[in-house]
Amino acid sequence: MSEDISHHENVTVEVRDLRKSFGGQEVLKGISFKVNPGEVFVIMGRSGSGKSVLLKHIVGLLRPDSGDILIDGQSIEEPGVRDKYRMAMVFQSSALLTSLSVGENVGLYLAEHQLKPPSEIASIVARTLETVGLKGLENRSPGELSGGMQKRVGIARALVVEPQLILFDEPTSELDPLISVTIAEEILKLKNHTHATSIVVTHDRDLAVAIADRVAMISEGRIIFIGTAEEIERSADPRIQQFIHAALTRPKTH
């Protein structure tokens, strides 16, 4: 591992007046917030509100039109800053490499950066898969696994990095409620064991309540609320109330 890599176990993330447009349409309209070290910060919002775009900016996959993202006070636009910190992202689609086995996916970071010898990588992979409840599945192909299992492999791949900052994009989407509970437990376990700073993007209200230290609500490219899960429940903002208490009801028939 590079000697430049920071050894702080968790980091502060600050987003300052972030703006981004695609094809003339402004998706992020001046987003600002600060995530404290070791905190689980949940960003909620409706589909298409700009949550995933925001996450991709934080991890460096997209560059902002204006504004800045600071990690421990340093802009990720500055050369070398992004590489200084161990970051990982759990994708909504899991984004496992289908040409590799489950074990190779999980050990990819260590193998490609030649951080450990192959035998040690194999034991780390086995241990990490066991942590996420997928013991002995190293040689399976990602395509043979269910959506929930793939998501847990994605989490295992992120865990191997020993991240200081971990980002989750819709970790419970397309999963049944029981697996969603498991995923929430994994996120909390990660918080307690590694003390990594976590940013979770979701539209799952129950997940947010279960794991969040603080919740931010994003609507039409703007942050409209930041507070604890209890505070958001008590918010008087009709947009928040509508989102939090939205429920399917059977249409009345005459």
Binding site: F91, S93, A95, L97, V161
Partner: protein, 248 residues
């Protein structure tokens, strides 16, 4: 278009810069080599055999009529090694391997696998482009080395067995040996090396710039193959001029 050319040149340069790291990617290079060789060797031999045969069939009777059938061996020999083997094999590889490269990298782009690599600080150029470029640059000249003699044999078979031509194996290969020099074979191998780089970089670039789901992947595959073939034929002209100039 100019933007794409610029992007391709930058991607090529980035690949050159990570070339010293190729030993680390040796497993992926050998996987790709096996993929290209295994998928194409039989097809290359069949294609070369028939190209040599058709060449003899088209030119043989005309040359016999004019009483210069003795030049058949040399003519087919030169045509195969300097032109037809490198160009036709490059077109075949563009269709078979260039399309596969664009499709594989394109689907990795669409299904966020490349984003996943980036978040793990893994450079897609080093991880995806470099092994494919090295493999195709080694594989295509190797396939052409097979195609050239097979094409000669195809021509010889037609010359010998076609009653309108009737040039025997001995006189065919005697003329071929007199006319074709080792330099001519290297000429063809050099061309195929350049074509391989063109196919590899265009296909990888198309894959990496894929947008918009399965339809986007289809578009990238088509563009990779068509652009590769067009570039092969354009490059062929300039390479031929260059090699003629060098050989003077």
């Amino acid at each position: 278009m100019y933007r794409n050319i610029g992007q391709i040149m930058i991607l090529f340069w980035q690949t050159v810069l990570v070339l010293p790291l190729v030993w680390r990617q040796r497993r992926k290079v050998s996987e790709q080599l096996f993929e290209i060789g295994n998928a194409s060797l039989l097809m290359v031999c069949i294609l070369a055999l028939f190209i040599g045969g058709v060449l003899a069939l088209q030119t043989g009777p005309v040359l016999v009529e004019r009483g210069i059938s003795s030049v058949l061996g040399g003519m087919i020999g030169l045509s195969m090694c300097k032109e037809l083997a490198p160009v036709m094999m490059a077109i075949l590889i563009a269709g078979r391997i260039g399309s596969a490269m664009a499709a594989e990298i394109g689907s990795m782009r669409v299904y966020e696998e490349i984003d996943a690599l980036l978040t793990l600080n893994i450079d897609p150029v080093k991880y995806l482009v470099l092994p494919r470029m090295v493999a195709i640059a080694l594989a295509l000249p190797t396939l052409v080395m097979f195609a050239i003699p097979v094409g000669w044999i195809g021509g010889a078979l037609v010359c010998d067995f076609n009653q309108k031509i009737g040039v025997g194996f001995d006189s065919y290969f005697q003329d071929l040996r007199q006319v074709v020099e080792v330099g001519d074979v290297f000429n063809g191998l050099f061309k195929s090396f350049v074509f391989a780089l063109a196919i590899g970089i265009i296909s990888c670039h198309q894959g990496l710039t894929t947008r918009g789901g399965p339809r986007g992947i289809g578009r990238s595959v088509t563009k990779a193959v068509v652009n590769s073939i067009v570039l092969i034929l354009i490059l062929d002209y300039f390479l031929t001029r260059f090699l003629l100039y060098v050989q003077k």
